[in-house]
């Protein structure tokens, strides 16, 4: 069965610090990969996605993620975080035709 691991449950950063959130998945076949964000009081929103092609994916609000197939990883990065990036971030994997499986989430708090 698919599984998704997010390495850190809580991350605290100061504004302008760089961010990297780890995500590893267990499925060995072809996958679609996603990062979702949930801002306080809001619903889950898509941050970025990878289906095929360039393994470096650009998303909204300056976020990017890199798919490394050999490491089964899809880490999320942002060079300089802002206070408004405070949210919970979820990595998700869909093995083509299978269900969309989420990681446990990482709560990011950015100190102003």
């Amino acid at each position: 069965a698919q599984s998704v691991s997010q390495h850190n449950h809580h991350v605290i950063l100061s504004e302008a610090a760089s961010l990297e959130l780890g995500c590893n998945y267990s499925y060995g076949g072809t996958v679609n990969l996603f990062w979702y964000v949930q801002y306080p009081g809001q619903h889950l929103q898509l941050l970025l996605k990878y289906f095929s092609g360039d393994p470096l994916v650009k998303g909204i609000k300056g976020f990017e993620a890199e798919f490394i197939k050999s490491k089964f990883s899809f880490n999320l990065r942002k060079p300089s975080v802002q206070w408004s990036d405070t949210a919970e971030y979820f990595c998700a994997v869909n093995a083509h035709g299978n269900k969309l499986v989420f990681g446990a989430g990482t709560i990011l708090r950015v100190k102003s």
Binding site: V4, Q6, H9, H43, L46, F51, G97, A104
Partner: protein
């Protein structure tokens, strides 16, 4: 474009009572998901529909949970009878051809 609409947003019921949640997906989306999200955890799939057909309900506790998606559009999720452990956020999402999922605001259920 209207997003995924769920109702109610909040529901408080006594244990052993029935409860139902409703979801209206994005127009044209053939895939509909119901997820359960406990505090501090990622969403966990309960059931996935392709049009009217439930194609993955392996995680749905069928002794008390039921779902339907008549005419392949709206969906309802029912719990009868509810237990204290059912307190959680119930999320509905939809997608087209199993690509990225769009989520509703969720229904926060409290069983007392």
């Amino acid at each position: 474009e209207a997003g995924v609409v769920q109702s109610p947003r909040y529901k408080i019921i006594e244990k052993k009572q029935p409860v139902a949640f409703w979801c209206n997906p994005i127009s044209g989306h053939n895939t509909l998901y119901w997820y359960l999200q406990n505090l501090g955890q990622g969403p966990e799939l309960l059931i996935r529909y392709e049009n009217e057909e439930a194609v993955d309900d392996s995680q749905l506790p069928k002794d008390r949970f039921s779902a339907e998606r008549l005419k392949g559009v709206d969906s309802t999720l029912k719990i009868q009878p509810a237990e204290l452990g059912d307190s959680a956020v119930y999320l509905c999402a939809s997608s087209f051809e199993n690509t990225e999922a769009f989520f509703g605001q969720g229904t926060r259920l409290t069983v007392v």
